[in-house]
């Protein structure tokens, strides 16, 4: 009996180690990051589900006319946002009311959309799928299209052990893929890990950042995921009251989610309505453009004071948040091998 037990114990240990290695490969928490808020135990990552999610993310099959995919507004080379479009651009060339957010480090985020309307990453994809200005479809129609496709029954089979296609599986697979989109290898990250050093200008920018910006754009994710009114004058055409639409509280009027500053070099234009094209316009707003109102963030009541030189230094620091590896990572890219398996590289 004793050798048998030993054998079983060793086997169990090997299996456990194998699983640990696999899960580390699929998703690992960067050393300087906090614990993710996403509950992975309810949606166990596996390579085939992530692949399925990746295919769904890049496939316009999610939209009513097979024209718009998630990647249409969340392109990897633009830090998973829609470069140069101040408002999201959807089916039939319809224009939405908000700037598409950059996607990264979503396992640490507890609510989604500029107003926090979505309470769980699994459910996020439902919003663009159904919105008449985005994909203009419905999840039940999407499921029928996936069932009829030649590609997806096989991908679902590989991911779940049978080819049943459900809303739950579809949403969870998309969530698995976007959970894996992690940006944690910018110059800033390497400096935090002691591998590189700031230049004198970047170091001064970092000191200014910590003093004047980091309450909301908290390290290392560069957002506190709270909702704040940052003093933007209201756009009379959009008349967007932000978080108040969801919470129904007047104290939330004009509040929007604090966005991450990671990869800000690539994710322009800025703000919930994409009104600023450049970082210098953003800094000009914080130093000279803040509009006073009842719900303005207390930290901005006096505005932010920065000299021209300080703005340059702060910008130099912000550019250390650019993660080029993240932008061009093969695992996040358009899965040509799935859609065109015969095509040569």
């Amino acid at each position: 009996m004793i050798p048998n037990r030993k054998y079983i114990f060793c086997l169990a240990a090997i299996v456990l180690m194998a699983f640990t290695t696999v899960s580390k490969k699929l998703f690992s928490v960067p050393k300087h990051f906090p614990k993710p808020v996403y509950d992975f135990s309810k949606n166990l990552l596996n390579a085939s589900s992530i692949t399925l999610g990746r295919a769904l993310f890049y496939d316009p099959i999610l939209s009513r006319k097979n024209t718009i995919s998630c990647a249409s507004c969340h392109s990897p080379y633009a830090a998973f946002t829609h470069i140069d479009h101040h408002l999201s651009h959807g089916i039939d060339d319809r224009i939405g009311t908000r700037n598409s957010p950059a996607l990264m480090n979503l396992a640490w985020q507890n609510s989604f959309m500029w107003d926090g309307a979505i309470n769980h990453l699994d459910m996020q994809a439902l919003a663009p799928i159904s919105h008449p200005d985005e994909m203009g479809s419905k999840i039940d129609s999407v499921i029928i299209r996936l069932q009829r496709s030649t590609l997806y029954p096989t991908l679902f089979y590989k991911a779940y052990g049978d080819s049943t296609i459900t809303g739950e599986r579809t949403l969870k697979s998309i969530a698995q893929f976007i959970l894996c989109i992690v940006s944690a290898n910018a110059k800033y990250d390497r400096i935090i890990q002691g591998k590189e050093k700031f230049t004198a200008q970047e170091a001064n920018g970092y000191r200014l950042f910590q003093k004047k910006c980091s309450s909301c754009h908290k390290e290392p994710l560069f957002t506190n995921y709270q909702f704040e009114n940052n003093g933007l004058p209201i756009d009379p055409k959009l008349n967007d009251l932000g978080r108040m639409k969801i919470s129904h509280c007047s104290s939330d009027s004009l509040k929007f989610k604090v966005p991450t500053l990671r990869n800000i070099e690539y994710s322009y234009p800025y703000m919930h309505d994409g009104r600023f094209k450049t970082l210098s316009e953003v800094l000009h707003h914080y130093t000279q453009g803040i509009v006073q109102s009842k719900t303005l963030s207390p930290l901005l009541q006096q505005g932010i004071i920065l000299s021209s030189n300080e703005k340059v230094d702060l910008t130099a620091f912000l550019l250390t948040l650019s993660d080029k590896e993240f932008l061009f990572k093969a695992e996040y890219a358009y899965p040509k091998h799935i859609f065109f398996p015969q095509a040569k590289e």
Partner: protein, 225 residues
């Protein structure tokens, strides 16, 4: 030998499980005491009415004896759909014989389930009972036409899980007969009569009116003799 013993135990073990108590619940939707088919015109003294869609969630079904819960349904939620008669019947399986004198259930989905991400079965978002522009289940969905409402049509999508507009309702109904076949009636006439009284005929988001209509809906349940 061990193998035979395991087989013997598993066989008789399953017999014990199958010797369970089954409680059959059936919902009957009525309008002025008559069963409601979809898309038919009802004429009353004050109104003519057509119901085109009626679906609602039942969750946390439990049986109570003398204020003690003696059975809790392990299924998180059941979607009852008037267009799908099978969905109006639920079988509860207890591993032991139970006595009970109250039936308790919730109308709608609780806050924990609402923040638990993608779920399957009756809670799959393809069932058309999940808001897409804002997270949350629709607890009760009714659509139709009524002459007593301006512009005739009404669409109530009642839900919301966050205070102050949490719309889930708990109902306790006394069970007086000893039968395991329980028929639960829902009388729609007075509830629908309140649409024009309470407010808008179109409710599509969590609101004071959604909570109010959910509370009134919960009052319409009774045990059929």
């Amino acid at each position: 030998m061990k193998f035979i013993l395991i087989l013997w135990f598993s066989y008789f073990g399953s017999k014990i499980v199958s010797a369970q108590d089954k409680i059959h619940l059936e919902w009957q939707v009525q309008y002025l005491g008559q069963n409601v088919p979809l898309n038919e015109l009802y004429a009353t003294k004050t109104d003519t009415l057509t119901i085109k869609e009626l679906k609602w969630y039942i969750s946390k079904v439990s049986l109570i004896q003398d204020d003690q819960i003696v059975f809790s349904d392990p299924t998180i939620a059941h979607l009852l759909n008037i267009a799908d008669p099978k969905s109006l019947e639920i079988e509860l399986k207890s591993r032991k014989k139970i006595s009970f004198n109250k039936l308790q259930f919730c109308i709608g989905i609780d806050s924990l389930t609402n923040v638990s991400g993608a779920l399957g079965g009756d809670l799959d978002p393809t069932k058309g009972m999940y808001w897409t522009w804002q997270s949350g289940y629709i607890n009760i969905k009714i659509e139709g036409e009524s002459n007593s409402i301006t512009n005739r049509d009404f669409q109530l999508h009642l839900g919301g899980y966050l205070p102050p507009f949490a719309a889930i309702q708990t109902i306790v109904l006394p069970i007086t007969n000893a039968s395991n076949d329980i028929k639960i009636g829902i009388e729609l006439a007075s509830w629908l009569g309140q649409i024009s009284l309470i407010g808008p005929a179109h409710i599509m988001s969590p609101s004071k009116e959604a909570v109010s209509m959910s509370k009134e809906f919960a009052k319409q349940f009774f045990i059929l003799k």
